[in-house]
């Protein structure tokens, strides 16, 4: 069995939740695997991240290089190509950094690439059978991945359950010498923080959230009327922001805000995993959608199969009457 590596995301010396999830991915590929954590960075933050990774992984490879102080995928890829032996399996989380790094890494390693796995079924003769989702989660697919020349695999955050395990007491090996010149053709400049909007939806207790089902910008008025009647704020899904109907600060999801309301009214929202990834704290979710097969109905507490444009004005009216 090929050696399995897990690329560990970390920030300010703290490792990401996906670090332990990747351990679960490795065990699903090979129950007897002893995966190695790859922790790249610079300075004291890196030292803290390595110590944290050693709590989960028996082996940690540390690479300390000033060029790695910010995780620039082009630079990290260069380092990994020098570091990881041919034929290995490299696991990483499927988020913006993994999407930036992984496909090109697979080419450089001459390895197979499969992205965004939500489950792994079995490994049979070097062929890994795994599960992905397509069309925004409307359907799943089984894929096989030929691991014979190694693989780069990204796993969807939150899909693999990290097990509570005793501290691994892992050994940290300094591999900084294996990578030297990391100068690339893409230089990190800065992170520009998201603009703050009129409302801070991360503090809202009740959200009326709008999706594609509103069809036209003018129709959003009925969401604002409902929100006003409920004493709620208005948030939205990605397509609404892409169309520039509402400002980015109102977008819920992995590429937008993380909200933790008591009640979340998902109106005309299909419920993609990117959207649901921005909803924390287990709120009471009401889904209103005219498509009875919308994935949102799998995760909502209560569902109403109806056209938001017809249902919402009636709901607003009833709330006003009762007030």
């Amino acid at each position: 069995m090929a050696q399995i590596f897990a690329y560990i995301l970390h920030k300010n010396g703290v490792i990401d939740d996906t670090a332990r999830e990747l351990l679960a991915v490795a065990r699903k590929i090979d129950a007897s695997a002893t995966p190695t954590a790859l922790v790249l960075g610079a300075g004291s933050e890196l030292a803290s991240a390595c110590a944290a990774a050693a709590g989960a992984y028996a082996q940690v490879w540390k690479v300390d290089n000033a060029a790695l102080a910010y995780p620039n995928a082009e630079v990290v890829r260069k380092a990994l190509v020098k570091l990881v032996p041919a034929g290995s399996i490299v696991l990483m989380a499927h988020e913006h950094f993994g999407m930036d790094l992984a496909p090109g890494l697979a080419i450089r390693m001459d390895a197979a690439f499969v992205s965004d796995l939500v489950d792994i079924e079995d490994l049979d003769g070097g062929l890994l059978k795994a599960v992905r989702q397509e069309f925004g989660g409307a359907v799943h697919s089984h894929v096989t991945v030929d691991l014979s020349t190694g693989a780069v695999i990204t796993a969807r955050p939150g899909s693999f359950q990290a097990k509570e395990e005793a501290a691994a007491g892992g050994q940290v090996a300094d591999k900084s010498g294996a990578v030297e010149d990391l100068a690339g053709r893409r230089d990190f400049i800065e992170v520009v923080a998201a603009e703050v909007g009129d409302v801070d939806i991360t503090k809202s207790e009740v959200l009326v959230s709008c999706g594609r089902g509103f069809e036209e910008q003018d129709n959003l008025a009925i969401a604002f009327e409902l929100a006003k009647a409920m004493g709620a704020d208005v948030s939205c899904s990605r397509p609404i922001v892409d169309a520039k109907w509402l400002e980015k600060a109102r977008q819920v999801g992995t590429s937008g805000q993380t909200v933790k309301p008591k009640v979340y009214m998902a109106c005309g929202i299909s419920g993609s995993f990117q959207h649901m990834g921005g909803i924390k704290g287990n709120p009471f979710i009401v889904a209103i959608n005219k498509n009875p097969k919308a994935p949102i109905f799998q995760v909502a507490d209560v569902g109403i199969v109806a056209d938001v444009l017809e249902f919402i004005p009636e709901l607003t009216e009833k709330i006003k009457e009762g007030a």
Partner: protein, 262 residues
């Protein structure tokens, strides 16, 4: 600047409900409406805007069968100067790596300063841009939501978590995968489509591209899709039924109990 934009024909999720076929092993393809992948459309728009400001040309390329020509024509109606259809039986069943290999051969047939792809597709894996860059040994950035053209390089913004934006300087030539929302793609009217209806679109096969047919297509694929399925889910939402008045009454009761009404 001469820009190549890689586009893909996909089932249009805004026009179709994607569901399983009767055999339960594939999506139902009867009456499926196809269109250009949404992300790719933003990439074409961005290319057109760059060329409108800086001069140059926009070429759109796709790997597909004869029917894929319609998406090239649509993007040409938007304003792309040229289309290129990479079409060969040997290409069928290619995985992402195979597609990137085919596109690489097409890139090397021309001379481009910038290559754009969509960041992902509804039926894809978000992989071709990054692979193509690595094969061409060009710098790459994904999920790009801002491009500013500079001298021999670009300033690009990437969409990262929490609505934040990661700014990078990247040297040209390079490959970028474009995120939705970077711009507002222009509308394509019937007249625009008519104007390009008879423009000839060159077709290139494995031989034209100097590709070893054994390195692409189903036989070379390391990743294969076996089937589509819909897993057994948990109970899911309690669906409220009855007349609209009854539904609303029940919903209001629940909202009151959960603190959703103030």
């Amino acid at each position: 600047m001469d820009i190549l934009v890689c586009v893909k024909r996909v089932p249009d999720t805004s026009e179709n409900e994607i569901e399983l076929n009767r055999a339960g092993n594939d999506i139902n393809r009867d009456d499926l409406v196809y269109s250009v992948n949404e992300w790719d459309n933003y990439a074409v728009e961005e290319a057109l805007r760059i060329v409108e400001n800086a001069g140059g040309s926009v070429t759109v390329v796709t790997v597909g069968d004869e029917e894929a020509e319609e998406v090239l024509r649509r993007e040409m109606a938007m304003g792309a100067d040229k289309g290129l259809l990479l079409c060969d039986e040997a290409f069928e069943g290619s995985d992402g790596m195979g597609l990137a290999r085919i596109l690489k051969a097409a890139v090397e047939k021309g001379k481009y300063d910038l290559i754009l792809t969509g960041a992902q597709a509804d039926d894809g894996a978000g992989q071709v841009g990054g692979m193509l860059a690595a094969m061409l040994d060009l710098p790459f950035a994904s999920l790009v939501n801002l491009i500013e053209v500079g001298e021999g390089k670009l300033k690009v913004g990437r969409e990262i978590e929490g609505g934040n934006q990661e700014m990078n300087a990247i040297s040209l030539p390079c490959v970028l995968s474009i995120q939705t929302g970077i711009n507002e793609p222009r509308y394509v009217g019937i007249r625009g489509i008519r104007k390009v209806a008879s423009v000839e679109i060159p077709r290139l096969g494995a031989g034209d591209l100097g590709l070893d047919a054994g390195k692409v297509g189903a036989a070379a694929a390391k990743v294969k899709r076996l089937d589509y399925f819909v897993p057994e889910m948990g109970a899911g939402a309690e669906i409220l039924e009855g007349s609209t008045d009854e539904i609303i009454a029940k919903l209001l009761e629940l909202l009151k109990a959960k603190g959703g009404l103030k």
